[in-house]
Symmetry: none
Subunit: 198 residues, 4 copies
DNA sequence: TATGAATGAGTCTTCATTCAT
DNA sequence: GATGAATGAAGACTCATTCAT
């Protein structure tokens, strides 16, 4: 049985990834409770029983997904590091637009909400989620502090979080709409936000 | 078997409400799939079998919840009608603050996300949700048009939707935090939004 | 609660008949276990609960059907009394032909098999069925003895029973076939049977 | 999930047979609806859930029983092939006698009627039953044509079918009677039938 | 007499998990 | 590592029966 999926290398890492990918697809498709181990095994091209060589039980699979997702987000956030201060607004607008149209991001949003739903009743998941959240917030705050000389960085990050969550929720709620874009009012908001001198 | 739960009166309406209230509580607690009919019956102070006198099956219960929720939101939105144009920003800020601290609103948010999760795999629910959404949007746009003379009303409503969705998602994701309030940046955004003259 | 349904007169008899007719239809349609009391009540134009004013339970309904069926058959058999000896063969051939084409007789055959199936696991029904059978056999034997002077009357009746059962089973098994008639071989058999002088 | 039970070999065939045997016993005992999956599982020495590895649902079990029964009957019928033409009558009389006394044949008759009852409301079963019937009839007709040079073969087969059905129904209806034998009248009929020269 | 609301035991079926091979 | 047969508890739903009105 494996305890830390983030340290795996080689074949084992590959097989575990297969399971996590398969499970993610199934969870998005059918929900955590709706997706059966048999289905996941099928999607992962593995026998049902064999999944239990890698994961103690179904719960352990979401836990691992949450952890992996946390790392993925952290890596995404690192992109901000290379970004000149005066490109932040446009960069984030682009990311938010993507949320409204991209298949990839829609999938991730759905998965997030699936996990969010599960976290309501699994405190362990809730804890992991909070950890992910605070780690992410910390990194973003640090990056912003490097780029901007202002004392309301946490405010900004909070606002950004709210915005991303809102756009993500909308995209899931309404489905993909052709040519959907972030509303002009919010574009203005983002531009003003980073233009302000405090 | 009942087909339109919005037209019920008397004892039947009462019993149906009991079921919907009970189910809402259970769904928030355990999720749609996690909540058993037995639990719901228990909470509704009714035998398991008797629920089926009012609802064809478990699915019909969420559908009814979604419909009821749609009506509730429409009624809430009507409050905006009485509001003078220059109070909009503060009113909405108050509502958003409530989302971050209120038990009632947290419950509703959780329920919404539970429903959202289920809508991912039940197209009928997804349809009802979309109808609710567009009806709500229409009403809000009409009200705003009465109060404000500007041509970007849909933009504003879209931005507001995103904001509420974002705050709602955050409150669910992070749980209730003492003294949490809407971030200053977003307060400014709302004030600016309604101050703008176009 | 009623104990002897054969002695009823007036309104009560009517209401009981309604139930028995309705139940017969439902049993043929869905089988004894497949037919619900609600359905039967519906078909009888009566509330579910009210059926229990007339019948102790579902079992009592089949019992009553079997009894009524027994009487009906006995009355049918009485027709033979009026029949001249040299018309027996043709009369029976006509009846058997009817079994193969008539809606009415098909319904009765189906009902019989439904009852037969139920008698396999309800000894009380099995007993009633056997009583019906022996009473019917007795009556037929008596009639035949009046008409024919031969000492193999029981043999003949046995053969006739087998024939009717066989035709009945075939009609149920194969469904109604346009223009189906009793096979020539069996026609010859019946004619020979009553022509023989012993 | 298995689709064609007639092609199975080895362990799987064995396990499926176990289920079909167990189910046959239970169906005869309690009827299709009266027999619970738990009982069947018990009788088959298998867990309830495991039955569903072999059969999609309860319906699939009868379907398989009907198919197997069809094959069994076809094999029985093949015995006629070896039979000299002048032994047909006696052979069939023996078989019919067996129907009236044998435990084995009584069981099969009961099972047949249980299936017949179910076929009334399951069109798929009805279809399979008709297929079995026509295949059987075809084989018998072919065999008879090899042995007898007459042009009323279908008539004969029809009469035989009626006879077997009738005897089968009687044996089920009346239960086993000690020393029951086919009635002399029907014996004569069978002997005459095959003696006739056309 | 008549209704239909109410009950709860019982049914089929699913599914996470284990284990022999 | 890998399979899939096997288990059994739990879930949604049905239905005969009772009872208050």
């Amino acid at each position: 049985m494996i305890d830390d999926y983030t340290q795996l290398r080689g074949r084992k890492a590959l097989r575990c990834s297969q399971v996590l990918d398969a499970a993610s697809i199934c969870f998005v498709d059918k929900g955590f409770h709706g997706a059966g181990m048999a289905e996941i095994a099928d999607q992962a091209q593995m026998s049902t029983g064999h999944i239990y060589h890698y994961f103690r039980n179904k719960d352990a699979i979401i836990k691992a997904i949450v952890l992996r997702e946390g790392q993925r987000v952290l890596e995404l956030v690192q992109e901000l590091r290379q970004l000149p201060a005066d490109s932040f607004a446009e960069f984030l607008i682009d990311r938010l637009d993507e949320h409204l149209i991209g298949d990839e991001t829609l999938f991730q949003s759905r998965l997030s909400f699936e996990i969010l739903a599960e976290s309501q009743r699994n405190p362990e998941i809730a804890g992991l989620l909070r950890e992910n959240e605070s780690r992410k917030t910390e990194v973003i705050e640090n990056i912003l502090r490097e780029k901007f000389d202002r004392d309301d960085i946490p405010d900004i990050v909070d606002a950004l979080n709210t915005l991303f969550a809102g756009v993500s929720a909308s995209s899931v709620r309404l489905g993909k709409t052709d040519g959907a874009r972030l509303s002009p009012a919010l574009r203005r908001f983002l531009r003003d936000l980073f233009a302000e001198k405090r």
